[in-house]
């Protein structure tokens, strides 16, 4: 159980400046024992291959999304977009006329990724904001407040972390149906809004590391618990709050099965679900690949941006999740 513990803040929070400084540090020399030029070349070739295999499918997504779906079939091996066009992207965003779509061999079904994009942004923001804030409150109660039975109640909460999502999926579907929330933003978001055992668990570690003398001082000044939470504890763990909020946003952005069950109207279809629907349409006997890749690209771009901006944080947090 203890292996699940994310490492406490200071060691795991990578600062942008640490990279250069580390290069000459003794620990990097202990590791970098590779002087043999042959093994260096082999090692770097292997790393290069991994990077190529990792990035190539993304390039292929872009190449396909910028191709004319009809022309593409005659040049399946072309590394560049075939008859380059923004048509597929316009098509899935609902900006291309039916005639143009047909001319490019694209799908002309009711696919509107502009709407799906808006749906995904609203639902994922709704979940992330509520879940992280309410989980932080719970984590605060489980760490910086002293009360009888605290650790026992926390243990019960952790059970939720260990139970596979599939187990509560069907009954939760029934619950959302009974609440009359099928095909609504709230229906998709509600079960995740109140808490995530993972987030509670993650943030509790960092609250436990907060210096209690700050809190003691605030109590003497007569501050209430809400004030201490919102003005002292929360700002101290803000870097971790941001990290976990990004990770949770990405998680729900990528989620498929739950939104597939709950959101089936155009107004409640999320991007992943929309892609699944689009994939099952086969206008010319095969899917509109250019359009499908354009839709995939649109769904992936927000993640690319998050990785570009917060990649260091995300890497640090994943790495620290496995080491005590």
């Amino acid at each position: 159980m203890t292996t699940l513990t994310p490492a406490p803040a200071p060691a795991s929070d990578p600062r942008p400046t640490s990279r250069r400084r580390r290069r000459g540090s003794p620990d990097s020399q202990a590791v970098g024992r590779h002087r043999n030029p042959l093994s260096r070349a082999l090692g770097w070739t292997a790393i290069g291959l991994v990077i190529l295999v990792t990035l190539f499918p993304f390039y292929w997504m872009l190449r396909t999304a910028l191709s004319n779906n009809r022309a593409m079939f005659s040049e399946p091996l072309s590394l560049l977009p075939v008859d380059p066009t923004l048509g597929p992207i316009q098509r899935v965003l609902g900006l291309q006329s039916t005639a143009d779509a047909l001319a490019e061999g694209g799908s002309v079904g009711d696919i509107n990724f502009t709407q799906y994009l808006i749906n995904s942004i609203i639902v994922c923001t709704l979940i992330t904001v509520f879940q992280v804030l309410l989980s932080a409150m719970a984590a605060y109660a489980f760490s910086l407040l002293e009360w009888r039975g605290r650790d026992a109640v926390f243990g019960v909460f952790l059970v939720a972390l260990l139970v596979p999502g599939m187990f509560t999926l069907l009954p939760n579907f029934l619950l959302v149906r009974d609440l009359g929330l099928l095909n609504s933003y709230l229906g998709i978001a509600l079960p995740a809004m109140f808490f995530s055992p993972f987030v509670v668990f993650f943030l509790r570690q960092f609250f436990l590391g907060v210096n209690r003398s700050f809190i003691e001082a605030a109590i003497i000044d007569g501050a209430g618990q809400w004030r201490i939470f919102s003005r002292i504890a929360l700002p101290i763990v803000m870097p971790q709050i941001i990290t976990i909020a990004i990770l949770q946003f990405i998680f729900y952005w990528n989620d498929y099965l739950w939104p597939l069950l709950i959101g089936q109207t155009e107004e409640s279809t999320l991007l992943t679900v929309g892609l699944g629907i689009f994939r099952s349409q086969t206008p010319q006997g095969s899917p509109d690949w250019a359009g499908l890749m354009a839709g995939s690209l649109i769904a992936a771009i927000p993640i690319f941006i998050l990785v570009l901006v917060f990649g260091r944080r995300i890497v640090g947090s994943i790495q620290s999740s496995g080491v005590k």
Binding site: G43, I51, M72, A138, E146, L162, Y256, S286
Partner: protein, 307 residues
């Protein structure tokens, strides 16, 4: 738990009164999470177990049927077939992924500390299963996909990566290796970084060779991290759904009808919620047993370093 420093508080017995005093704010802080826990976890869990003993079909009221669902699972050949293909998936996925991630982590640890490279390697893990599945479905398409076109161009036979019973599950397992490789690599990489440098220095002083160092130091010291990685990835791997749902949809001929897809199909394809619930209970029990056995065998909680 840590005792509070009370030097700033002049009142005697302040700790006791605070303990009582903080119960009310604690409950208020916990209230939303507690509500969520009860409404969307505890209650559905109980309801799921209850439904597994009924014939609920979404339309008429559930009727208690005792152990009937569980009894028919035993004779359900599709269920057993689905267990077999799930295990096949898990086995290929975990073995390839763990070995590849281990190799990549060692490579990265040896050659570079570049955060950019680690970020690139991690990227597929942050992209939706659905997108990853679609990109590979396209790359491996029988007629138009790049891979088959390339095979054809160099005079080899085309391969039905997703369409051929023989290959479909392996293909899906490898697609998900591609997605999870970076995540697993980062966890192992962190484990490697956590091994203190002086252990290696001591080994070097003793004249230990590369292989010896790897076998006697790196591997044993990495065991807790590997245990964690295996528990997390195996339990996750068992619940493969998204990739199957957007590509093969369980086919061809149930070759990729993994257990979660079968549960989904039972519930929302044939509205057999009672039976699907019983399958979910079975799945949870299987996962619990696997996690417990792994923790035991791999002694996940103990580090060889701290002994």
């Amino acid at each position: 738990m840590a005792t509070m420093p009370l030097t700033a508080n002049p009142r005697r017995g302040a700790k006791v009164s605070r303990k009582r005093g903080q119960l009310v704010p604690a409950l208020l802080f916990l209230l939303p999470a507690l509500l969520g826990f009860l409404a969307f976890f505890a209650w559905p869990a109980a309801r799921g177990i209850y439904l597994s003993f009924t014939d609920y079909n979404l339309l008429s009221d559930p009727e208690f049927v005792g152990l009937e669902n569980y009894a028919s699972i035993g004779g359900d050949s599709v269920f057993w077939r689905s267990m077999v293909v799930t295990l096949q998936y898990v086995l290929i996925n975990i073995v390839v992924q763990t070995i590849a991630a281990f190799a990549l982590a060692v490579l990265l640890h040896r050659f570079t500390k570049s955060m950019v490279i680690r970020g690139v390697v991690m990227l597929p893990y942050l992209i939706a299963n659905v997108i990853v599945a679609l990109v590979w479905y396209w790359l491996a398409d029988y007629n138009l996909g790049l891979i088959n076109s390339a095979l054809d161009a160099i005079g080899l036979d085309r391969i039905g990566f997703f369409g051929d019973q023989q290959y479909a599950m392996t293909t899906i397992a490898l697609v998900n290796v591609w997605r999870h490789l970076g995540y697993t690599t980062l966890l192992i990489f962190a484990g490697l970084q956590a091994i203190p440098g002086d252990v290696y220095e001591a080994a070097a002083v003793d004249g230990a060779g590369e292989w010896r160092v790897f076998r006697s130091i790196t591997l044993p010291l990495l065991r807790p991290v590997l245990a964690f990685v295996l528990v997390v990835t195996v339990v996750g791997s068992f619940q493969i759904f998204d990739t199957i749902a957007v590509t093969t949809q369980g086919g061809p001929v149930d070759a990729t009808n993994a257990i979660t897809y079968y549960i989904y199909d039972k519930a929302f394809g044939s509205f057999d919620f009672g039976y699907a619930s019983a399958l979910s209970v079975i799945l949870m029990l299987i996962l619990a047993v696997i996690a417990l056995v792994q923790m035991r065998v791999l002694r996940a909680n103990q580090s060889d370093l701290e002994r």
